[in-house]
Amino acid sequence: MRGAKSAKWVAGAAIIALAATACGGGDSDDSSKASKEKGKPAGYVSIDVGEPQKPLIPADTNESLGSYVIQSIFTQLLDFDADGNIVYTNAESVKSTDNKTWTVKLKAGWKFHDGTPVTSESYIKAWNWYANVKNAQQNAFWFEDIKGYEDVHPEKGDPKATEMSGLKAVDDTTFTIELNKPVPYYEYKLGYTTFAPLPEVFYKDTKAFGQAPVGNGPYVFEKWDHKKLIQVKANPDYQGPNKAKNKGVLFKNYATVEAAYQDLLSGNLDMIRQVGPKDLPKYKADLGDRAIDEPYAAIQSLVPTFYSKTFKDIDPKVLQGLSMGIDRDTITKTVLNGTRKPATSFTPPGVAGNQDLGTDVFKFDPAKAKQLVKEGGGVPENKIWIQYNADGGHKEWVTAVCESIRNSTGVDCVPDAKPDFQTDLEARDNDQVKSMYRGGWVADYPLNVNFMRELYGSTAEANNGRFSDKEVDAAFKKGDNAASLDESIKAYQDAEKLVLEKMPAIPLWEYKTNGGYSKSVDNVTTDFHGDYNITEVTVTK
């Protein structure tokens, strides 16, 4: 099919064909569209995962592209299944009697890809390094629960120590984590990619390691062709439950989702993570049962800023009214092409503790919406703004939401576009949002706590709406002080009911993965944050 001969032909024929654009196509050739991908070794699978933003160090990666690669090369103590239950990977067990001191037992005989053993020390040393303020790791704050974090990561100035006093090795495969205060759900946090171990070779040259990482995971790093692809091969000695069922993975960078989709159709790509808006209306017809349409644990909401003129000392009834004025069903179906699922609570399904709130606040009811806004005293000037970043494809739905609010409640709603995400974030950080902003939150760990405490706690750093309520804080505290995980989840469920009364945000919808795969692979499934379980993917031919 390919070759210089036919390509030369193209050049000559191009002018003629382009002039006569509408002269009908030849017969479509569907026969051999199996994998004929260039440069892909047999048994490998490929996926459109673009250039990671940062070097491949577990604690420095928080965006989805880098995490994909990190997750394939590194294995943490534990992972989650599709329902959000804990699956032990490198750990034999993680136990605690008081929720404050956790004892981790590692599986014996695990090795890094360079042959060195994975020991307690591999974890402790790595976590101390990650947390150290000098190393400026993006995810350093994940270690803040551990005793002694302030010593290695003080708010100002140089660190006083290089080790956190809360981490102690008992023997080669056992270590203890002592926390500042009890955290009943701490085990869940340990599933985040940041808690990966590092081999000794890392400390010799951290820069070089970021370009060619050595992990303990199901895949071994092979090469990183910047802006083009990252190649990893299956680790034959891997002992975890998620051993690779294929021979390796190519993470390929595409300039646009449309280009990736074209490659998927022509058999040059095996998996696409997200179909672009242009192809969404037809991707199910194109792919048939190879299309993927799965919700995952992430939620998009409108976040009112409680310092703004509009929402200062607002009656929550007004926010409930605005929420009921949004026709979520129609907008997700039409404007968003079915890529989202209307929200029914503050937590998405797929996280433990998700519950039916038994409320009509998320239902579209123009009459009641109008009434609630009126009862709550309305908003100043009868006008609200929704801030969003114009570079993320949000314009259409923000406009639709505004239209919906305006029509049903009579409150004038104006989209407030910021040119890009950076500018959008800057306005949020500096408390310059006019009245509300578009918020999005993907679960770090599949627990309702992650959607409550991290977003609406008055001291939470991601709480850019500056919501602050003593009762809510107290309810969260109750959950943090619970004796067991189950009780903690339950306490947070109660807290969510309180949150519903206070309305620190208007949840809109849950995200979905709308992707697909080619004929040459099978068994493509998604995990709780919508990523494919790459180790499970099998090659058909």
Binding site: A4, V10, A14, I15, L18, E155, A259, D263, L425
Partner: protein
Amino acid sequence: MGRYVARRLLQMIPVFLGSTLLVFAMMYALPGDPVRALAGEQAVDPTQIAEMKKELGLDLPLWHQYWNYLVNLFQGDFGTQIASGRPVADIISEAFPITVRLALFAFIFTVVVGISMGVFAGLKADTLRDRGLLVLTLLLISVPSFVLGFLGQYFFAFQLGWVDPNVSMEANADELILPAVVLGSLSLAYVARLTRTSVAENLRSDYMRTAVAKGLPRRRIIGVHLMRNSMIPVVTFLGTDLGALLGGAVVTEGIFNVKGVGSAVFDALRHREGATVVGIVTLIVIVYLVASLVVDLLYAVLDPRIRYA
């Protein structure tokens, strides 16, 4: 001639300084903080951000940053990317070869096909074939390049199966032909029209009549006398066009997934990678300056009446 070239080269220095300063200042003026944006919606630690900025020298005032940039540049250091920590020189040396290849293909396509079409039509102005060319070029000018790109992909990749829809990681020559044709087709239309007009005009000029009267063979009349004079406007256009092609084509590169300068600069802009943007733009400015110098020198070659001192 030598003095002229030397003077032109010297003139490049202020242009170079001015344009880098402008781009630098514009990147500086843009709202949004690239270091902060790395954290996204996650929690941020202000001390850590301050630490990273200090390390990258982003906490200094504009003039100081610019000075540092220039000093490093003259030592051959284009700076470092904020997020990836990779040298900008690496980014440039990955992207430029691909763009150069694509640009050359597009350029050759434009020159060969465009000029022959122009001559072909201009020799018999106002006939059916001339009108046909005008319609065709009008079509190419009015259809946006992304439409051409998607159409090309649809016909040649999906219907006929001659090529793959996208350029692969290696960016082989045969894969670049379709993108190059799409990229070059707009310029092709202009070149064809320019050539056609000046050929048609020069056909009626006195020296042409003289050449015919002298009894020169037709091939020599058209190939030498007519062509040389008719090429001056075309060469002017081609000179700037080559600059534009080498500056990358964001849209075409996006459609065919070409990892060239266009997509590199677009990515860098989106992530506010100041050093990368300035580095690439600087190179593009130099390409433009050199291209326009070459065009000016070509005038003298084409028309002996033009002299430079």
